[in-house]
């Protein structure tokens, strides 16, 4: 296949890139406290990017054999596309990474089913009338990238992930509890973390409490910190910096956030679900600080934006049918110095477990606004009950200037994070 691609490109005098992806997925699903289905799939495909008179064409096919046809489609598209100045990735030494585990590949159907049975029974035991759900899936991904500039790389990745939760739909009071974790190592996937979260969430939500609109101290847990990171996905995207639509444009090396905040993008994190030896354009992976002690220090780049901003590329991410764009990999937020139990000693505050609607809001502008789907009021260090019918609204450019981080961290799926306390967030409620 490699030879065929290189030969076609040489014959036509083109530079280009071939991506080949194979994905095997197996999942076991339990719903309504019972075994529901087994799903299995194997898909593969190729994608070609090429330059014709410096114009970029893209095409893909689920028929991996059809290199010639896919190149021809990309060739035709290039006419109406734009000129680019970057070169496809050249030869390089790709780093060693730990993202494949033979134990995941060999994980037996019955073992997954048994794990499911045990956990669905556990959820059912937590609350009378709860409808539990559980799923576990293993995914084996093989990705290969080849360029006419001389890059050739391949990696295999195995991901084991699990989702579990339950819903208790009482009239006038629905309660959804949910959690998800994933690892590229079987032994490191600790379902116990999820079980503990689900159990605590149900217990803390035993009664509801009413709150008034106003400013509150809020605490994001490692399971909800992802909402605070949504604006960062836009802000650190170097393509948005090029276009002037990043709120962190012109803000590198300036004190923008609390000195306590350090955020690292780490595609080399051993056993991470976003771990890979090279990005989706064939650039070797590197660990990169995004925020260092409150100062934004790097953007996430791809070949296009790195070329425009004179930076190093390396953070491109794509699916078979989509164009590469800068994207984060595994994200690590450095822990702080406070013990969680001390952070929770607030006089009055709200713990955020999950929000709704944040991604539809103005995240480009730094806004994190959403309905508190699951959150708890703390009074004098004690959980007073579940907060409902309330919205949180904050902008990360203000809200993250003054934060407290816990010593304790939890690794969920792509994120390893401490608990984060924000002292002054707006909460709007029903009158």
């Amino acid at each position: 296949m490699e030879e065929k691609f290189l030969q076609i490109m040489k014959q036509r005098g083109l530079s280009g890139e071939l991506m080949e992806v194979k994905v095997y997925k197996f999942s076991v699903n339990f719903e309504n406290n019972r075994f529901k289905s087994i799903e299995e799939g194997e898909t593969s495909g190729i994608a070609v990017r090429l330059k014709k008179n410096n114009k970029l064409g893209l095409s893909y096919s689920t028929n991996s054999e059809d290199i010639e046809g896919t190149v021809q489609h990309a060739y035709e598209n290039a006419d109406v596309s734009q000129e680019v100045n970057f070169d496809f990735a050249g030869p390089s030494n790709v780093p060693d990474t730990l993202c494949f585990d033979r134990d995941i590949e060999n994980l037996d159907r019955n073992e997954i089913v048994n794990t499911g049975k045990e956990n669905i029974d556990f959820i059912g035991s937590l609350r009378e009338g709860v409808q539990g759900f559980f799923s576990m899936s293993k995914e084996i991904v093989s990705e290969r990238i080849l360029t006419t500039e001389g890059f050739s790389g391949k990696y295999n990745k195995s991901i084991l992930s699990s989702q579990m939760g339950g819903v208790d739909a009482q009239e006038g009071n629905f309660l959804w509890v949910f959690g998800e974790i994933g690892r590229a190592s079987k032994n490191l996937l600790d379902i116990g973390i999820l079980r503990e979260k689900i159990k605590k969430n149900f217990k803390d939500a035993e009664k509801n409490v009413k709150i008034e609109s106003g400013k509150y101290t809020v605490i994001f847990t490692p399971f909800s910190v992802g909402y605070l990171l949504l604006p960062f996905q836009f802000a650190f995207n170097a393509r948005n910096v090029v276009k002037g639509t990043s709120i962190l444009k012109d803000k590198l090396n300036q004190e923008v956030f609390s000195k306590n905040l350090t955020i690292i993008n780490d595609p080399l994190l051993p056993h991470g679900i976003a771990t890979a030896a090279f990005d989706d354009e064939g650039v070797p992976s590197e660990r990169k600080d995004l925020v260092f002690r409150g100062k934004p220090v790097n953007y996430l780049t791809d070949l296009f934006s790195a070329n425009k901003l004179n930076l190093k590329p390396g953070n491109a991410s794509r699916g078979l049918s989509t164009s590469p764009v800068p994207s984060s990999a595994n994200i690590l937020i450095e822990p702080g110095n406070e013990k969680l139990k001390d952070i929770l000693k607030v006089k009055k505050g709200i713990i955020i477990e999950s929000l709704m609607g944040v991604q539809m809001g103005n995240v480009n502008g730094g806004e994190v606004t959403g309905n508190i789907e699951l959150g708890y009021l703390i009074e004098n260090g004690e959980i007073a009950g579940r907060v409902k019918d309330a919205m949180i609204s904050l902008n990360i450019m203000d809200a993250l200037k003054d934060i407290v981080l816990s010593e304790e961290t939890i690794w969920t799926d792509f994120l390893l994070s401490p608990y984060i306390l924000i002292p002054n967030a707006s909460i709007s409620t029903k009158s």
């Binding site: 006419d79 629905f174 103005n362």
Partner: protein
């Protein structure tokens, strides 16, 4: 594509039910950012699946190469047999008459009749129009996606359907900045049959670009609970997100508490409210004759004069609940099984006047156009693109970053006025449920007057 051999392969006696779906088609997409055409791509997709039901357990296997079908059917059977006998309540699919049908949408203007170059030129022109409105328009995001495929469906009950399906949609997002913040607005289009909906959008784009600049200086709302008027766009998103998803019966069928809450005949609102979901309005994203289980589509009233009158079913949920099938079993592509999903979901036209709603409000919000929404069955949130303050019966200041939220059941009861200006909105995106997105759907509504909803604010 579906030969006699394949039709014979699915006639198995050792299973309760077996179906095979296969699709073959092409996709085109264009992405423009400001002055630059970031990507133009074309792809060929083919793939299929075998789904089998044995004693209440589903086995489902998907693949790319139809030549592997025979062994994939065996795999699906083997999966379903894994826990045979452990499920007490055996699933009985609701019965359906077997059909043989070949269908295709009535295409008025085929996107394929417009060359890729002309499409890209049109989208670039739209981007240029937005950029030219004001120096504060710092960028645009312009997207276009087109899918054309032939779907084949065959099952163990003798049904065979071949469907030619077209779906396309796009959007133009002017983005403004004053150096401190970013605002954006959105013009969208979509259809299953007529490319002309993507044409002649210059005026609308100019207006939205200007609005995006004005939003930079707009006020942020005061947070709290207020009377709200929503336009047809937000009304549609509300009924889709807040009530449509709740009506999808996979969420109800096996949960006794949910079945009680969503009992047919329960009063959900005042008599002015009628809500339906249908596949039979031609020309929209979500129009379909047969769903992905070969069930004919029909207009389904979810709420009739305030009373709950039906749920949205696939064959499994209709069977479990002993209700009539509605033709809502849909799968986004070959990698997923069909589950209850919406088609075109609407609040029917009312008799009231929008102007009278405004006059009635002392202090409230008029929320317009949607960036989407989310629900968990009871609570919902949706985000408006722009909004206006209403003070003493008059529309006054422009507001930005307005998110609305509430309790579905309370909010349905709080709909106190329904205007007579119904419109269907075909957005460029689609509906997401679990991993299955973007499914082509559309929504319709007139202006609604909601006596109270929570506005997120400072």
């Amino acid at each position: 594509m579906v030969t006699e051999e394949i039709r014979n392969l699915v006639k198995r006696k050792d299973v309760d039910y077996l179906e095979v779906r296969f699709e073959d088609g092409s996709e085109t997409s264009v992405s423009i950012s400001g002055k630059e055409v970031e990507s133009v791509s074309k792809g060929r997709i083919s793939g299929g699946n075998a789904r089998v039901l044995i004693a209440g357990i589903w086995g489902f296997v998907y693949f790319n190469d139809i030549k592997e079908l025979k062994e994939k059917i065996e795999s699906a059977i083997s999966q379903a047999k894994t826990l045979k006998g452990t499920v007490k309540e055996v699933v009985k699919l609701a019965p359906v008459k077997s059909v043989e049908a070949i269908t295709s949408a009535k295409v008025l203007k085929d996107p394929e009749s417009v060359s890729l170059k002309d499409k890209v030129d049109l989208l670039r022109h739209y981007s240029d129009i937005a950029l030219g409105v004001d120096s504060k328009i710092v960028n645009t995001r312009v997207m276009y996606n087109e899918r054309k495929k032939t779907l084949y469906f065959v099952n163990s009950e003798g049904t065979y359907i071949k469907k030619d399906v077209l779906d396309f949609g796009g959007g133009i997002m002017p983005m403004s900045s004053n150096g401190k913040e970013i605002q954006r607005t959105y013009v969208t289009f979509g259809s299953d049959s007529d490319f002309s909906v993507a044409e002649n959008l210059d005026g609308e784009i100019k207006g939205k670009a200007l609005l995006s600049v004005k939003l930079l200086d707009a006020d942020v709302p005061k947070g709290g609970e207020f009377p709200v008027i929503v336009d047809h766009d937000l009304g549609g998103v509300f009924i889709h997100e807040a009530f449509g998803h709740l009506s999808e019966a996979d969420f109800l069928a096996e949960d006794p508490k949910m079945r009680e809450i969503m009992k047919i005949g329960s009063v959900f609102s005042s008599k002015i409210l009628n809500v339906f979901d249908t596949g039979d309005i031609e020309g929209h994203r979500g129009t379909l004759l047969y769903d992905d289980e070969g069930v004919p589509t029909k207009k389904t009233y979810l709420i009739k004069e305030g009373v709950l009158s039906s749920h949205l079913h696939n064959r499994e949920t209709a069977g479990k609940m002993g209700e009539e099938m509605t033709g809502n079993g849909r799968a986004v592509n070959y990698k997923f099984p069909p589950i209850p999903r919406m088609r075109i979901t609407c609040i029917e036209n009312g008799k009231d006047k929008f102007e009278d709603f405004v006059k009635d409000i002392k202090y409230g919000v008029y929320a317009r156009n949607s960036f989407g929404g989310q629900t968990n069955g009871e609570l919902f949130t949706f985000v408006s693109e722009n909004a206006y303050l209403i003070e003493n019966g008059k529309i006054t200041k422009l507001l930005k970053n307005v998110s609305l939220s509430g309790n579905v059941f309370e909010t349905l009861k709080n709909i106190v006025g329904i205007a007579d200006d119904f419109k269907i909105n075909d957005s460029g995106g689609g509906c997401g449920k679990g991993d299955q997105k973007p499914l082509p759907v559309s929504e319709g509504s007139p202006h609604l007057y909601i006596s109270k909803a929570i506005i997120g604010g400072k």
